[in-house]
Structures are given as C-alpha cells and as structure tokens.
Symmetry: D3
Subunit: 116 residues, 6 copies
C-alpha cells in the first residue's frame, strides 16, 4: 500500500498535462475554475475540501476522493473530521458508497501513519 | 413564492409520519441514524449541514436541498457561505445542477428576506 | 390524493402514444423489450416487478416507482412486501431516496385503501 | 400545453437573473463557460446542442432537455434528428429515461406544430 | 479467473475491518442495518439478495454486484434466475450497465462451474 | 500504454461472447438494438458515435468511453472533434468527469499517434 498517495500524485500530474495539451480553451478555463472554487473565501480551505470530499463520495469517484483526502490532510484536517464527512456521504448515498469508503480508509491509513 | 419554506415543512412532517407508519424497523432505524449523523461531533452542525447540501446538490434532489438550506439558516449559516457551497456542487456536478441551483435561490430568497 | 393512480395511468397512456408516434423503430422495439422483460420466466411476475421497483427507487424515478407499485398490486403483492423492497432501496441508495419513498407511500395508501 | 416553451423561457430568464445576482464570481464564470462550449467550433452549433441533449437525457434533467430541444429547433434541427438523439439516450440510459422522453415529446409537439 | 470470488471475500473482510476501526458509531450502526435489511422477513433471503443485485447493477457498482452474486449462490439461487435479474437491470439501466454485466458473467462462471 | 486499444477489443469480444451465451433472449435483443441505434439514419454514424461518447462521459463509464472513441476514429472523426465532445461532457457533468477525460486522452493518444 505504501506509495499509493505518491503514485496517485505522479499519475495525476502526468495525465493532467496530457489533458490540458489535448484540451481546448474551454477545458483550460474549467480547470482554472476548478482550482479557484476550492480557494479560501467566506469558507476556509479545509471546509471546501471536505465539501469536495462529500460530493465526490456520493458521486462515487475514487480518484476524486483520493485527491480531496490528500488535500484535507495538507490543510490540517484530521482523521476524525474525515470520518464524519464520510458518514454524511454514507447516509446520503447509501451502502453503494461502502466500497469507496473502504478504499478511502486505505488512503487515510497512508496519510495519517502516526495515528494507527 | 412566500410560504415555500412553510409548505415544505408541513408536507415533510405529514409524509414522514406516513412513511414511518408504513415502514419497517429498518426504516425507523435508518431515519434515526439520518438524524444522528448531522448532530455536532468533531465537526459542528453547520459544517455537517453544508456537507449534506453539497451531497444533495450533486445528487440533484430538490427536497433534500431545500431541507439542508433551511437547516443551515437555522444553525446560523449565511447566504454568502451557502453560495460557496453551491459553487463546489456546481463545479463538481456540472451544468446539470443549474436548475437545482436556480430553485435553491428561490428558497434562499425566502430564508434571508432582509438580505435582498 | 384520490385519483393519483388513475391520473398516472391516463397520462402514461396518452404520452406513450405520442412517444411511439414520434419515435423510431428502435424506440418501438425498446418498448416491446421493456414489456417483455417483466413477463414471468424463471422468476414470477411479482418478483420481476419488485426488482423493477428496487431499481427505480435507487435511480430515483417517481413515475417508474408509481408504475411498478401499481403493477405489484395488480399481480398480488402486499404492502408488507413492498415495504421490504423499499428498505433495500433505502439502504443501498441512502437518504437521497427518502423523498421518493415518502411519495411512494402516498401511492401505496391509494392502492391498498383497506389496509389503512 | 400551449405556452410550455414560452413559460420555460420566462422562468429560466427570471431565475438565471436571481442565480447570477446571488452567485459568486465562480458561478458567473461557469455560466460564461457553459454558454461558450456550445458555440460553433470544429463541430457546428446543432451537433453541440444534440450532444447536450444526449447528455441531459441520460442524466435525466427535464429542464436541461427542454432547453436543448428549444436550441436545436432554433439552429435548424428537425424532429427526425431529435428522435435519433433520443434513441441513443434511451439505449445508453435505459427505460429509466422513458418518463423524460415522454415529456420531451410534449415539448417537441409544441416546437414543431406543423409536423403533427 | 480462478479465485476471483475468494480474493473478493478476503479483501472485503480485511477492508471492512479497517473501515469499522476507522469509522464512527454512525458507520457501525449503518453496517448493522445493512446486514439486517437482507435477512428473511416477509420476503425470503434469496429475493432480497436479488433486489440488492438489481439495485447494484443499475447503480453500476462492481463490488456490490459481486457481493450479491455470491450471496445469491449461497442461498440457493440459480444462474437462470440471475440472468433474469440482470435483464431487468439492463433494461432499466441501459447499455451503460453492459460492462458490469460482462464482469458479472465472469463471477457467475466461477460460482456455477458445473453449469458451464 | 501501447496495445490499450487492442487489449480492450480482445477483452470486449471475449466477454461479450460469455455474456450472450449466459444471457436470455431479452439480452440478445437488447444487444441487437444497441448495435442498430448507432447505424447511420437521419444522423450519420460519426454524429451518433459522438452522442454515445457524450452520454458515456457524463455517466462516467470508462469502457463505454473507450468503445466510442475507437468507433469515432474508425468512422473518420478527428482529435479536435473529440475534444469538443469531451468539453460538452465536462461542462454538463462537471469535474467528476475529469478522471475519465484524463483516461480518454490516453486512448486518444494511441488512436491518433501521428497527431502527437
């Protein structure tokens, strides 16, 4: 499991490069807007990343879940806070989210190694 | 538009009663769990309601959106905070969420009448 | 609420007529296949309608839910059986299905008037 | 049924105004991008609107379907072309799209009155 | 392909352990409820597992599909019954379910080796 | 990455065979209908494949996306046309489609090697 986060980061960087090279001006602008909407505003960056995690969980996108977990850890979120975000996703989205929650815990274990 | 929030509350109360009467023990327990997961824990109640709103928006459920908007207003959330939650939903979920965001603004206008 | 089922039946018949008139051969064949897949085979008609209900609930389509509720009642299903089908949908699909379950109970009340 | 298209246009204009007033800079930029991506490029405007229709149908958004049907008619698309777009959505998205296809035919009947 | 079912069982057990350890009381209670709703009630266990399969197929969750296929085989369901459940999912959910149906047949081949 | 398209084709052929052998008459007829709806009619084959791509992208099915990319290339579609189809999917479906768009660009790179 070691390196799951690092592998995700490397692949994401490489594929984003290809996507932006192959994409149109609309693609590029959307990517900018996507970055911008998670910047601190009235809500702080951690809350926004948690909102992104909840949305990604109920839409069941593993890559998006991994990305927001990494970002939450980077801006100071804790394992306990993440667990409560996952609960909202589980209750709203139902048991169909469980396989994604299982995989999220693998990423969480790597992001918070001292907490195990 | 006046009374949209009140009408929603009344209909929800009435239908929940019928649902719990017609439902099984599993139904009742799920409803309890649904209430419980939004109670303040490591995350406060407002953050949890905003997570519920983001999840409801990307899953495009108008009743759920209305419910969380009402609850956010009740626990002290502002129009400006809601706007940033809706933006995360819009970017994650795409233009398909726009009709729901439009209808959300009708509810917001009623919940925050002094802000217009 | 009285007449909800009758109104649904009338509107569905009328719109299906327009849909088939405006549709292509592919549309017509799909409609035939849709009818055929609910006919008794290794599984009986009631089980198949319940499968259609579970699928419709987690995909959150009120018209489809109403249709399968009507059909289940027609082939001899009971309120208690329907309640257990709705529970599977609720657990698999989460709280986002609740508004649809609430509306389903309005249809159920009309389909099983003697059971109230 | 008469006036369905006109009513949709009026409500959409009015609610979009409220949405943009209540929205953030991210909201406004997304709306701009949404408009821009349907402008003729390598693909012509009609093809792009048909792509929007197919996407809206499988995601089952009636407002979005109505919008793209209106736009297709405005840029010269025919009832026969629309029927084939709806077929792709029906086959890809399944019978769960049928209630939306039924309602689409009500809009189509109003958009192409001479064709009845 | 041999061992697909066994590998699934092992990974599921291991990840569920991590999920419950990292999860909250809400998580644990949801998992209990999830187990409980498939227990025989008015409907028997096989019918409930088939309902879970239909719901999982239209929501397109491979892990959930595999789980319900295994459980159906355990409680005495046949390949022919499963084929009819998959058909309901295919018709309701459309061609987008086909990749999941293809993968389901790999699991079915392993669960019913004598039937090939 | 070389061989991604070939591997997909081989696996699809092999699994479709198993699916049709294990499937019912409904399954077989659906597969026929699925093929038929992409045949040139009022709309040409390329437009229909692009409609299938847009629908597959917003429903986020990698196998379906790969299939339609291959077919678009076979009937003469270009990288630039595909980029505009992906943009419609991105705007309609939101950032949740991005991981699928990234993977689509890997397939595109293999399908259009001379364009890099």
């Amino acid at each position: 499991m070691a390196g799951r986060v690092e592998a995700f980061r490397n692949q994401r960087t490489s594929l984003n490069k290809a996507t932006l090279e192959g994409g149109t001006l609309v693609t590029k602008r959307f990517f900018n807007l996507d970055t911008r909407c998670y910047e601190a505003g009235v809500l702080d960056a951690k809350t926004k990343q948690m909102l992104g995690l909840a949305a990604s969980l109920v839409l069941r996108c593993d890559d998006c879940i991994t990305y927001h977990l990494i970002r939450i850890a980077e801006v100071g979120g804790t394992k306990e806070e993440i667990a409560e975000v996952l609960d909202i996703g589980l209750i709203v989205g139902g048991s169909i989210t469980i396989p994604h929650i299982r995989r999220a815990h693998e990423v969480i274990a790597e992001l918070f190694p001292g907490d195990e």
